[in-house]
């Protein structure tokens, strides 16, 4: 007779073979896919950046044609924001949130898988523009009228608009997933004040996505209507308003920055306690700061529009709101410093990346305050100063924590440790390469160099600094290569990690490394924020195997299920049945591909077929079947 563990493992495993890969819905399969795919897009966006920097290494080069340069900077921004940063933080959530909450899966595993397929197809859709020779070239911000039907008559912007619409769908479904998971799937006893800070960050991010992404969705639908059926939302000649796009875009676009940052801050809040070997300082403050950031981020969008001619009186409010948003971030930074101060630092690679984050992000925050000062911004807006600023906050604020997270959780995901030596080399080259690349850009901006120029003339004092920046970019690229080497070496012959290699305190370290398909044999119970440090009896003193075996006969162990708990105090109140592997997510996403591809090339009948296909698959998906209901 197989043990319960073996039986559960089989119950939660993906079917074998290629078909099994297509129908997988398990949160760790989906999460790993999102992370790997987003990392590949990170590499693609990085290669684009290297090409852009190579073109600018000297004045008047033509490594890239003007058209190619404009295409590559458009793709670089679009890829990094839509295909790397947002999916990456959602990938981390899909993998880690159930483990940290002590759940067996995300609440809607099929929706999770559907989100992944939308993300993948959206990325492929965008890059398919190369095959059509109509690569988007209007910038990741896509301001009309430049991107409207008159000035971009080709399919370039249609690829962009439809591609990111896919990604928007993916972001929104992931957000729903995360919110429901945090509200309903927490371990027994994990009341609101015991939720890991990483999960808090992901929760606030998910709520922000729900509010912010529809603005972008509306904006892009309007623009696509302008382009395809001749509406005039953004056409100034017929009473449309180009500024409408900018408002809608930045109502999405500024929260977007925090959508990326808050989960990254959550990673930092997870790593610093582990490598200080003490609980975080100011847990309540950090939670409040995270929530406050989420709210304030919706009141600052017009600081991207200081130069558009909005009256100074209105701008003053946006400047004040932009100053205010630094305060919750300041609180977080000093809570982290306080944790380090009171702890015992362990200088392992994840901790180094977190320290790199602290230094770079603080510098980026300081230039952020500067660009929020309206008169100063009017000088540096759309100059290289801004390029320097936002790479400090985005690479500093998201990429460094992400690498910290890779080094921290890679052992959990694979069971293997990454090499510390290579990791430290990886960190120092990245830290130095980053600063050599982006620090000179501050000065370039002050010296009058505008952004998004494919080349520049000699004699303007911009040559040395551009050369320096490009050299830094090459160092950064080498650093990323080191990371890839480290991953492959470790996958092949890494040191075994064990369940808890860093002596972490949160629930994911209670699971095996890599976790079994069912994550936890029985749903754990917690009595504190760091159950593994407090020696919380997460299995309630029972012999896990014996207790679990006694449960085998119960119906909810005959199919995938996890425990649902109440929203505030996390008392168990339901057993939630989880779906089995299914081709429906892929088929539904495929219907959208047919629909969007048909819209792209103006084919009505296939577009209608795509709609019908999507509706039919959606109907099958929603058709109630026996045991679908919460018990």
């Amino acid at each position: 007779l197989a043990t319960l563990g073996e039986r559960l493992d089989r119950l939660y495993s993906n079917p074998s073979g290629f078909y099994g890969w297509l129908v997988a819905v398990n949160h760790r399969s989906v999460g790993t896919r999102i992370i790997v795919t987003a990392f590949i897009f990170f590499l693609i966006g990085g290669i684009e950046a290297i090409l852009l920097r190579t073109q600018l290494i000297q004045a008047n080069l033509d490594v890239l044609s003007p058209q190619a340069y404009n295409e590559f900077f458009t793709l670089h921004g679009t890829t990094m924001m839509f295909l790397f940063a947002v999916p990456m933080v959602e990938g981390f959530a899909a993998y880690l949130v159930p483990l940290m909450l002590g759940a067996r899966d995300m609440p809607y595993p099929r929706l999770n898988a559907f989100g992944y397929w939308c993300f993948l197809f959206g990325g492929i859709f965008l890059y398919a523009s190369f095959l059509a020779g109509a690569v988007p070239d209007g910038g990741w911000f896509a301001y009309p009228p430049l991107t409207g039907p008159v000035h971009t008559p080709g399919l370039n912007m249609d690829f962009w608009l439809l591609g990111i619409t896919f990604v928007e769908i993916s972001a929104i479904v992931a957000a729903i997933e995360i919110i429901v998971a945090v509200i309903k799937f927490r371990a027994r006893g994990m009341s609101a004040n015991r939720i890991p800070l990483f999960v808090w960050g992901e929760l606030v991010t998910a709520l922000m996505i729900i509010v912010a992404f529809p603005a972008l969705l509306a904006a892009s639908v309007f623009l696509e209507l302008d382009r395809k059926i001749g509406t005039h939302f953004y056409n100034p000649l017929t009473g449309g308003e180009p500024l409408l796009w900018q408002h809608l875009f930045w109502i999405f676009g500024h929260p977007e920055v925090y959508i990326i940052f808050l989960p990254a801050a959550g990673i930092v809040s997870a790593i610093i306690p582990t490598f200080s070997q003490r609980p975080i300082v100011g847990y309540n403050l950090i939670v409040m700061a995270t929530v406050a950031t989420g709210f304030l981020s919706f009141g600052v969008w017009a600081h991207h529009m200081y130069a558009t001619g909005i009256p100074f009186l209105s701008l003053a409010f946006f400047a004040a709101a932009s100053f205010m948003i630094t305060i919750p971030t300041g609180v977080q930074i000093f809570a982290w410093i306080g944790t380090i101060w009171n702890g015992k630092s362990v200088f392992k690679t994840p901790f180094l990346f977190v320290l790199g984050f602290l230094v770079i992000f603080v510098l980026g925050g300081l230039t952020g305050v500067m660009v929020a000062v309206v008169p100063f911004d009017l000088q540096v807006h759309d100059s290289y100063f801004v390029v320097a600023h936002f790479h400090y906050v985005l690479i500093g604020g998201m990429v460094f924590p992400m690498f910290a997270g890779f080094y921290y959780w890679f052992p959990k995901m694979t069971g293997k440790l990454l090499s510390e030596n290579l990791g430290k080399l990886n960190f120092w080259t990245m830290f130095i390469g980053f600063n050599i690349t982006f620090f000179p850009m501050h000065i370039l901006g002050l010296l009058g160099m505008p952004r998004r120029v494919y080349t520049y003339q000699t004699g303007l004092g911009w040559e040395t600094l551009n050369l320096l920046a490009t050299i830094g970019a090459y160092i950064l690229a080498i650093s990323i290569l080191m990371f890839i080497v480290n991953v492959f070496r470790s996958l092949k012959a890494g040191e075994p990690a064990g369940a808890n290699p860093w002596n972490g305190g949160t629930l994911e370290w209670a699971a095996d490394s890599p976790p079994k398909n069912y994550n936890f044999l029985i749903n754990p119970t917690v009595g504190s924020r760091y159950p593994l440090w407090q020696d919380d009896d997460i299995y309630l003193g029972e012999n896990v195997d014996a207790r679990a075996n006694s449960l085998v006969v119960e119906p909810h162990h005959a199919h995938r299920a996890t425990q649902g708990t109440s929203a505030l105090y996390a008392e168990p109140d339901t057993i939630v049945r989880l779906p089995v592997p299914s081709p429906l997510p892929l088929l539904l996403a495929f219907g959208l591909v047919v629909l969007f591809a048909s819209i792209l090339v103006n084919l009505i009948v296939p577009a209608l077929l795509g709609i019908v296909w999507t509706l039919v698959i959606g109907g099958i998906w929603l058709w109630p079947s026996e045991g679908d209901f919460v018990e």
Binding site: P66, Q67, G282, L285, G309, I337, L363
Partner: protein, 322 residues
């Protein structure tokens, strides 16, 4: 390092925001040094705390021995109260400088100049006169001038770092602001809003004259082009009209009244061609006219499809437009 940075910042070859040549940029340059000071203070405080924290965290000490103040209080004092005070000061100064930028100090504008953005050049009009020029904006030095900027196609942005920060040029609307250059001089600026293929080569020169000189320039610029008497120039003018040049370009005093390209009435009085892409000289004018895409790929002007005597006559005619 810092010294090298400061030297770079004050090198004179760049159109630098930190070497202001007028009050509008001057206010902001002063603001920058002040902001840099505050940013340095905050950075030093933060990194000192971080450094001490790391140093203390390596000491062998019992884990319950803490900093002597509750962590919450520390985070609130250092992370909220301290920045809030700094930010309050910055807010007040910001509002003060904004008020100064909004209204020209002292005198009312003496002149009004309209600038219209096109992909990828600048049309400049002087209301009340017939003067129309391109890519060069002449102003009287020491006087406050009102600018009205807009766009004929996509969004562009007006920027002359040594004189004034950005003001976007919106299609279908007009943004109004004031400018003053303290001294006569030539100040370079580039379009600052991505406007398509040749955004990189959409530059302009702001040329400040002594006020009398400016009046003389304005009168000269307002004159129509003289009727050519030399037969070669007459042939050149015919070539201009026969080859559709006049669909896009205007030459005041002739039947060429196109508006989608730069006004050529006094083209040889200008310093550059193609929106500060190349210097203006007879050789460059001929080369540009023959194939502007050599210098500025994708520019809206097509290459001419004829050569020989007609081409030479055309160039001779253009060269006569001083």
């Amino acid at each position: 390092m810092l010294l090298a940075v400061l030297m770079l910042l004050t090198s004179c070859e760049s159109p630098s925001t930190l070497e202001p040549r007028g009050p509008r940029a001057g206010l902001v340059a002063g603001l920058w040094w002040w902001l840099l000071l505050w940013a340095t203070v905050v950075a030093v405080v933060t990194f000192t705390f971080l450094g001490v924290a790391l140093w203390r965290s390596r000491q062998d000490k019992p884990l319950d021995k803490t900093m002597g103040i509750s962590g919450e209080k520390f985070a609130l004092l250092a992370g909220a109260v301290f920045p809030a005070i700094v930010l309050l000061v910055i807010t007040l100064v910001t509002l003060e400088v904004m008020a100064e930028l909004d209204e020209p100090a002292g005198d009312n504008p003496s002149h009004v100049i309209e600038v219209i953005g096109w992909m990828w050049w600048w049309e400049v009009r002087y209301p009340g006169t017939d003067a129309v020029t391109a890519n060069e904006i002449h102003i009287p030095a020491g006087e406050t001038v009102e600018f009205r900027v807009s766009s004929a196609d996509v969004i562009h942005s007006f920027w002359v770092p040594e004189i004034a920060g950005k003001v976007d040029m919106m299609p279908g609307g007009e943004n109004i602001f004031w400018i003053r250059a303290d001294e006569p001089g030539i100040y370079r600026g580039q379009c600052a809003e991505f406007c398509g293929l040749q955004h990189a080569f959409m530059a302009k020169l702001l040329i400040a004259h002594e006020p009398e000189e400016y009046q003389a320039w304005l009168e000269r610029e307002s004159q129509p082009a003289p009727e050519p008497v030399d037969p070669v120039l007459q042939r050149g003018q015919e070539v201009f009209m026969e080859n559709q040049c006049h669909f896009c370009h205007a030459i005041r005093g002739t039947e060429a009244v196109g508006i989608v390209g730069p006004d050529l009435t006094h083209i040889m009085s200008r310093q550059t061609l193609g929106a500060v892409t190349i210097d203006n000289s007879i050789g460059n004018l001929a080369a540009w006219t023959a194939d502007p895409h050599r210098f500025k790929p994708g520019v809206k002007m097509p290459p001419v499809h004829f050569a020989g005597e007609d081409f030479e006559a055309l160039i001779a005619y253009l060269v006569s437009l001083e």
